[in-house]
Symmetry: C2
Subunit: 280 residues, 2 copies
């Protein structure tokens, strides 16, 4: 694991690393914010997943969650949004699929299945490395994300409730199967059988897994978001939570769009939400 | 003046505009954050100047000053860092000069003198337009900036004390004449006579103009900044302030570098500084 650069940020450090991922089979980059604190082994870890076309720097540089993580003394982990440099034909043709658009799932369809395993990478490799190397997250791991990253946060939380103690999202793709972005990506990554897509759909997981987060889920959604009706569909998540008996705090904000100006406005509440779940 | 896009941000709006600049003779873009408030004519305006290679979006998207401007009810103006599209040979060859590197001065040397008039553009055109169109800054205008933008803030404040009621800077180029960046740019923009360079040098203006800001100047400087000794030289500004009898709060921060992770950490203090000067 190589430290690429580090920046003092509030009372902690924003660092960027590169490491050779065994699961993906390529070098991967990630960002890590570590608050100033004595004993890192008690520091909760909040995984922050970015959206389509973003990378490990986007959430770290534009949301300024470090301001609040610094106060709450929690660490922030910023994974990349896809493998890089797989050189699969068609990988760079669209911002909605391939590079920058890994959808936080494990592809089963060739040629994507050779490298596109962001789900296992984050859950089985990156988080364990951060826990082992730094002790961060040993006591608690939460997960949040924006847009495709919100889809990632919800799907990973409901698939791995023993890893994630809390989940929130900003403008998530609530049902990838019922989103044009997802209907473009899912068959390419997972093949034509819609049954397989259900394991990459937050609403389907909510109603099928039996997993519940007893302290609820926090979702913020801007109602001036250009994708709210076409791609994100928060009403589907609301309905799935109702059916599943999952308590959810879904806040609709009239004026807000899909940008990081929206994320930065509400990120303090998300950091507080996860810090409280972690007992901070 | 054309509204390009707008984003709700905290309790206000971050907007981006394009207009045809009479002084520059080309279309220019700028960002404007307007807090939610009843009467805009009482809202102070803080001009935020970005550094080399940046544009009107950089300070707006990475510092998250909107969080604090929203609370203090002050507006933020984000000019671009140079003319765009002048198509002067050599304009795009270096990130230290030409496009993205206007140095907030009026070039007198051809061919740059045809377009590169960022000083007059900001002071005589952009600020008056914002005051006239929106009423913002009618009561008070402050100025801050980062790196080359810090140089811009200091030089413009000391040249136009009737316009600017307060000045602060993040890691400013304190003496452009004694900085390799400035020694590259100043002769190209202003010709070979060093006397002309003195009007584009913060330290020289401090000791020659007789202008004082009685409430002092706020400067933040990271001591892990890769440019602090080679380009920025805060000790020169400290000495110039001592000679001039200008009170200055120069805070040296051991761990911090030149990035927006540094700016975002301390921007709350700068917004408070200017808000206080404006009587907020």
């Amino acid at each position: 694991m190589k430290l690429l650069n580090q920046h003092a940020s509030f009372s902690g450090w924003q660092r960027f690393y590169r490491h050779d991922s065994t699961i993906i089979g390529l070098p991967m980059r990630f960002g890590l914010f570590v608050p100033e604190t004595g004993n890192l082994s008690n520091v909760p870890l909040l995984v922050c997943l970015a959206g389509l076309s973003c990378n490990e720097e986007t959430f770290a540089s534009k949301a300024v969650a470090q301001a609040y993580a610094s106060q709450a003394k929690i660490a922030l982990l910023f994974p990349d949004t896809s493998p890089r440099g797989a050189n699969i034909p068609g990988e760079s043709e669209s911002w909605e699929f391939g590079g920058g658009a890994g959808f936080y799932l494990d592809a089963t369809e060739p040629p994507w299945s050779s490298f596109y395993k962001m789900e296992s990478y984050i859950v089985k490799e990156l988080i364990p490395i951060v826990v082992a190397e730094f002790g961060l997250g040993r006591s608690f791991v939460g997960i949040t994300g924006h847009s495709m990253g919100g889809h990632g946060a919800l799907t990973l939380a409901f698939k791995y409730p023993r890893i994630f103690g809390s989940v929130s999202a900003f403008a998530p793709i609530c049902s990838a199967m019922r989103s044009p972005w997802g209907r473009h990506a899912l068959p390419r990554y997972l093949g034509g059988n819609e049954q397989a897509w259900r394991r990459a759909d937050a609403c389907e997981l909510l109603t099928s897994t039996g997993v519940r987060f007893p302290d609820g889920i926090l979702i913020d959604q801007g109602m001036a978001d250009e994708y709210v009706h076409s791609q994100l569909k928060p009403e589907l998540l609301e309905e799935a939570c109702r059916i599943a008996g999952q308590s959810v705090t879904l806040r609709r904000h009239e004026r807000f769009d899909h940008s990081y100006y929206f994320v930065s406005t509400f990120v303090a509440d998300h950091v507080s939400w996860h810090a409280k779940a972690a007992g901070r």
